[in-house]
């Protein structure tokens, strides 16, 4: 194995320096501290916390996860304790086991809710950026509409930017005709960055009962199977906007992380694979130098958007 020290893995996101570009994706890593007894999570570039709303949410009825060919469906529905307890309880626990700063992922049902949650994170020093989840397919009457209509998204981003003291990264849905159009809309509204892709809408049916496996019918599809779709959309967005792009969708290895960065990602998020292999994010970080060495790259920043 190559030595991490021989390679520069540091990347800069909104002025914050990540020791490497690997960030566990929101919803697949809890509030981070849950993984502290699996490995020393200080190896991580950052962490995107579980989606947080204004008030406590239980989420959707069970079952809310399902197996797919090479991936999974989820319809969790933003279970969280509400922003105040997230800050006072969850992030406090995280501070004990993680030295770096993290990304707060914010969900909501209305512009007012998003704005209020973002405002309350202003005072939380542990958070260096907000990931605005405008693409959760699992929340009725909210989430998804913000993510598929450019002008609705634009209004939301403007409202949030007006109160936020932290950079706003908007998480886009892949369930749109033109991801570039969505990206340009949120960039125009002042977004400091874009992360993508959220999950594709998917479904599985239990043959014996003839009922959808997920209690709510359908959910978000993620995992290995979405990688080529994610890569293409990250590249489309990279070409459409000038703010940093954080790429995710089906990354399971350092090679795929590098491929995603070549497509245009400044940093990558690892999602479903954390649930399959709890050591996934750590292993990807450890494997990065070997892949870079193969490619004769000393500074990982060289590869960002380098696809010809």
């Amino acid at each position: 194995m190559n030595n991490l020290k021989d390679f520069n893995l540091k990347v800069n996101l909104f002025g914050y320096e990540l020791k490497n570009p690997v960030i566990p994706a929101s919803g697949t890593f809890g509030f981070g501290y849950e993984f502290a007894d699996v490995y020393d999570i200080n190896c991580l570039g950052s962490i995107s916390l579980k989606g947080t709303t204004l008030n406590e949410r239980y989420g959707n009825p069970l079952p809310r996860v399902a197996e797919c060919p090479v991936g999974m469906l989820n319809s969790i529905g933003l279970q969280n304790k509400g922003v105040d307890k997230v800050i006072s309880e969850e992030i406090e626990k995280l501070k004990k086991v993680y030295d770096g700063k993290v990304i707060a992922n914010v969900g909501g049902h209305s512009v007012d809710e998003y704005v209020e949650v973002v405002r309350r994170f202003n005072a939380c020093d542990k958070v260096f950026a907000i990931e605005l989840n405008i693409s959760c397919p699992n929340v009725k009457g909210g989430g998804m509409a913000f993510g598929t209509n450019p002008s609705v998204a634009e209004n939301l981003v403007k409202a949030v930017k007006a109160v936020s003291q932290k950079p706003i990264m908007v998480k886009l849905s892949p369930n749109v005709t033109s991801i570039s159009e969505m990206a340009k809309a949120v960039e125009g509204a002042g977004a400091d960055g874009i992360s993508l892709i959220n999950t594709l809408v998917g479904m599985r049916i239990d043959l014996a009962t003839r009922k959808p496996i997920l209690a709510v019918g359908s959910g978000g599809y993620s995992g290995r199977g979405v990688f080529p779709v994610a890569l293409k959309m990250v590249n489309d967005v990279y070409k459409a906007v000038s703010v940093p792009v954080v790429g995710m969708g089906g990354i399971t290895s350092a090679r795929e992380a590098v491929e995603m960065m070549m497509a245009g990602a400044t940093a990558v998020m690892v999602g479903t694979e954390n649930l399959v292999n709890p050591y996934a994010s750590q292993q990807i970080i450890n494997d990065l130098p070997t892949v870079l060495d193969e490619l004769n790259v000393k500074d990982i920043n060289e590869i960002i958007g380098s696809v010809k």
Binding site: T28, E56, G59, P61, N74, I76
Partner: protein, 242 residues
Amino acid sequence: MKNQILTVKDNKQISDDVFVMKFEKEENEYKAGQFVELKVDGFTLRRPFGVYDFEKGELSLLYKVVGQGTAKMATMKRGEKIDALTELGNGFNVDKAKKPLLIGGGLGAAPLYYLAKTFKEKGIKAEMLLGARTQSDLVFLNDFKNVADVKVATDDGTSGFKGNVVEALKHYDFDCDFYYACGSLAMLKRVASYSTNGEISMEARMACGFGACMGCSIMTTDGAKRVCKDGPVFYAKEIIFE
């Protein structure tokens, strides 16, 4: 939690569609009620299985072939390897009972075998009530009789008391101070509404199995809790059944 590669020692078919998979000795410690998650080749998500037995370092799991994952498991042979997350969940608190009653429904009762053995090692012979639809569902009955004082209830009366578990609880009037229950959601709900003086092991479809994804959360009097990490064993009184 540990991530281990387990080696199949034996994969015994004990009925049409029920198997017991035993693994080679490993450095593990299990409390009754804990579970493991197996990564079956060709599938993304791991499958959770409660500890059926743990004897001299050898783990046994009891499973029914219900889908493609368990069908694949049924083909596994001695010497084959499987990626597992082990020592998951909280397990039963055996200190709560001096006179324990173990209540099981169908194949979901499997974890009670190791629980009964645990009590036996403490010098306590547990009482046990096993409910099932019909006699032939009680595939492990003889094993259970070796470790506990077993009564049976079947819906169709083909074995023991005829009726559901709660009716059987009333009928047998067990002398116990605390119960431990395992089985289908419907059965557990009935037991909890009859008495909350016990612990219940919950089942749920899981994605990760170690508390990260919130895929298996249930509602409790203390807010949402994860079956995989905060459970699978909860006090009967704290569970809010849907």
